[in-house]
Amino acid sequence: MSIISVKNLTKKFKDFVAVKDISFEVDQGEIFAFLGPNGAGKSTTIKMLTTLLHPDGGMIRLNNFDPVVQGDEVRRSFGIVFQDPSLDDELTAEENLEFHGVLYKVPSSIREKRIGELLKFVDLEDRRKSLVKTFSGGMKRRLEIARGLLHHPKILFLDEPTLGLDPQTRNHMWNYVVKLNKEEGMTIFFTTHYMEEADKVAGRIAVIDHGKIIAVGTSNELKSKTNTKTLEEAFLNLTGTTIRDEEATSKDYLRMARRMWTGRK
């Protein structure tokens, strides 16, 4: 049974089409990865799924609800760790977590317990009472993750959760997420630029580029489809090697032309 169902979803920013007519399904209890170069439309899609942006076309069903007209029901179905910062810098680590717990109606006994556990888990126990504005980038990121794990939703969105984290923490976090997925049947929808993370934890992977989904399948399926050995090679094969920065394109052409002429890589 699919818990997320997307059909012909489109989003425009003025004339620019950020998400073009995409369709996909995510099954209940699945770990689903959304991979794509910078600016591919991953975060925009997640924002539409999580009621933060209104689509310009297409249909979404999340836990059988429509985010456009059943915002409250949809919001009761998911949790999210955003790509961009979303903490209150003027509150302490603990207060940020409490705020979240209260908004999500986590009973206070469970809330207290989980806050303690999660702060320990992300190694911020001794900074519990510090204002978030005194934290380093990585510490803030870890707190965002702890907050996302505080209430246990049906669907958990993780938009580049491991951005800027050290390998130890990344490993640690994925183990925890996989455990939640196994034990509670939580559906996980995540994006990342670390291919090995997707390779290791994702059941299925969708590759999106320039707002379009260009491939969906397991890591092995993507590899065999592109005749490559690693997911990274498969990814590069599918999305090309040009850098996704409009200004870089002309330079890339030059580089490509030179390569062709000189025969070097």
């Binding site: 009621t51 207060e95 705020f99 908004l103 204002l131």
Partner: protein, 248 residues
């Protein structure tokens, strides 16, 4: 209920932690009280207006509340820019509750600020007949604060960043303050100014406050109260409507 409380609490905590902001925003009202109060006092008396400090203080309290309240509402833009707004927007709570919690928090902060100005004015020369009226004065202060926090939030819902802030200050907040009768009596004004002062919501707030604190009403407490009440409902409704439509 717990949603409204936690949003309220957040505003209060942020306020109490920003000592610089509290002290900074007291400078202006105190300067106004001293410069205008003592500067225009003699002329006001000669013209038969009575004690200007008594007249002016409720106006300056109203000004502090107006500024703090609008500013608290506008803070929504910061929340949007620093990303915290997303956290509240994806939460499974009604938008109305979020709006009410925010507004109550901002209004409490603005009322506290007004109360501090009132207390300080007692040292500058304002004279309170009896302290019993203080409770009623606080109720009116809170109503003014609610009205303008909701207005500030409504405006902030329409803005993406702080670029429009100067515009709001110069074309909304300053006129609201200056044309409300906070500095001068509303009797015998030229027709145009008289009209504008009547449609200025702050006029009714200041009239109520001045009537309660210094004993002279222009519109009367009943009318003041009714208009404040209706405008609070109106601005909260508009604010909630606009807040619902925010996309980030």
């Amino acid at each position: 209920m717990s949603t409204i409380y936690i949003l309220w609490l957040r505003q209060i905590k942020r306020y109490l932690r920003s000592r610089a902001r509290i002290i900074g925003s007291l400078g202006q009202p105190i300067l106004f009280l001293i410069a205008l109060g003592f500067g225009f006092g003699p002329i006001f008396k000669q013209a038969g207006g009575g004690n200007y400090m008594q007249f002016l203080t409720p106006g300056i309290i109203g000004m502090s509340i107006l500024f703090t309240a609008i500013f608290s509402g506008i803070e929504l833009i910061w929340d949007r820019q620093f990303g915290f707004l997303k956290e509240t927007l994806v939460a499974p709570v009604s938008r109305t509750q979020i709006m009410i919690g925010r507004t109550l928090g901002g209004a409490t902060v603005a009322t506290l600020q007004g109360l501090i100005v009132l207390i300080l004015s007692l040292f500058i020369g304002f004279h309170l007949e009896h302290f019993g009226i203080l409770l009623l004065a606080i109720v009116i202060m809170f109503m003014i604060a609610l009205m303008f926090t909701a207005l500030g939030t409504a405006i902030a819902s329409l803005l993406e960043d702080m670029q429009g802030f100067q515009l709001i200050m110069n074309f909304l907040v300053m006129p609201l303050f200056l044309l409300s009768g906070s500095l001068f009596p509303l009797q015998g004004l030229p027709k145009a100014i008289n009209f504008v002062s009547k449609i200025d919501p702050l006029s009714y707030g200041i009239d109520a406050l001045r009537g309660i604190l210094a004993g002279n009403f222009h519109f009367g407490l009943g009318l003041d109260f009714l208009i404040l009440f209706l405008l609070i409902i109106f601005f909260i409704a508009i604010g909630t409507f606009l807040f619902r439509r925010i996309q980030v």
